[in-house]
Symmetry: C2
């Protein structure tokens, strides 16, 4: 490790911790060939919290994200539901859902929103077995608020057909038709 200047080391520390927040001060001090105290001073002036706080923050941030895709949850916020008839959900998009260069929301977020709403509108345990007429009409930009509407359009035995539209300000950005079937549970 060749000797580098304070300002340079500061940049490096920020970079290193950005893509791996799990280094202790001691490990960093070895990495940069300076004392632990120097690393502490560096963190102070860069307003970087201690290891345990960094780890905690990563843990809590992503726990929220995972939970929103978890058991029984729907992607977005369910604001209206008439079982076996129709449902409405909204989803506030942000940059974490988008490609960082283009700021265009990744398609599977939109799809997940539609899918989970389609599942939510049916009361029983269903599995998605078919999707038809899917169309992404215009790209969604990070920050736009999506409104999804689901409508059960047909039921044949244990098979349901659900249509889902997603709009931004009344402009349709997505639409599709889902085919769902009830699943019998053996517990």
């Amino acid at each position: 490790m060749k000797k580098i200047k304070k300002s340079e080391r500061h940049q490096e520390i920020k970079k290193v911790l950005k893509n791996n927040p799990f280094f202790t001060d001691e490990e960093l001090s070895e990495k940069f060939g300076v004392s632990v105290q120097t690393i502490r001073l560096d963190r102070m002036s860069l307003n970087i919290p201690e290891l345990r706080e960094r780890v905690k923050s990563v843990a809590t941030k992503n726990l929220q994200k995972v939970k929103s895709l978890g058991e029984g949850e729907i992607v977005g916020e369910l604001i209206d539901l008439q079982l076996n008839k129709n449902a409405i959900s909204i989803l506030q998009t942000d940059e974490s859902m988008a490609f960082s260069k283009t700021k265009i929301v990744k398609g599977h977020y939109i799809f997940a929103m539609a899918e989970t709403l389609a599942l939510a509108v049916i009361e029983s345990n269903v599995a998605l077995i078919g999707v038809a007429n899917v169309k992404y009409r215009v790209p969604v930009k990070a920050g736009e608020k999506l409104v999804a509407k689901a409508e059960v359009i047909n039921k044949r035995g244990s098979e349901y057909f659900v249509r889902v539209w997603i709009n931004v300000n009344n402009d349709q950005v997505f639409r599709s038709k889902f085919r769902l079937v009830s699943i019998d549970l053996e517990v």
Copy 2:
């Protein structure tokens, strides 16, 4: 807090820490009206690591998850790529991707796999603007290994058409056609 038995407390502790791993032993001891040492013994016999380890594990797990859906990454493992021609990826599914009751893999994982492979096969920066002929043919069970194949079937100006199939043991479980357009970047 009424007095409960050891076994009952054990179940409760597991449950509590499952949906919030951020409690200290002291907080748990207050919650259950027992001493800190009892909580420690409980954790020992349940093989539950200490707070800091729990936090760290949540953090690393979710950091991986975020990274695997991050910049330029594809869902699954890219095993073959001929730019602008075709690509193959594989994805080992597990229970974390499935509905816990039915063990059926959630549709958006499959969709994300197809979408990211379609994006990967095109060299430039593209946005997904259309999907057609999507079909989930049979449900995928947790544990099954998905093989996705993408093929560029047409190119009109900045617009690409990519077909993606996903198979489990040569049985097709998904197929679709993506429409992608190049994006001009202003940095």
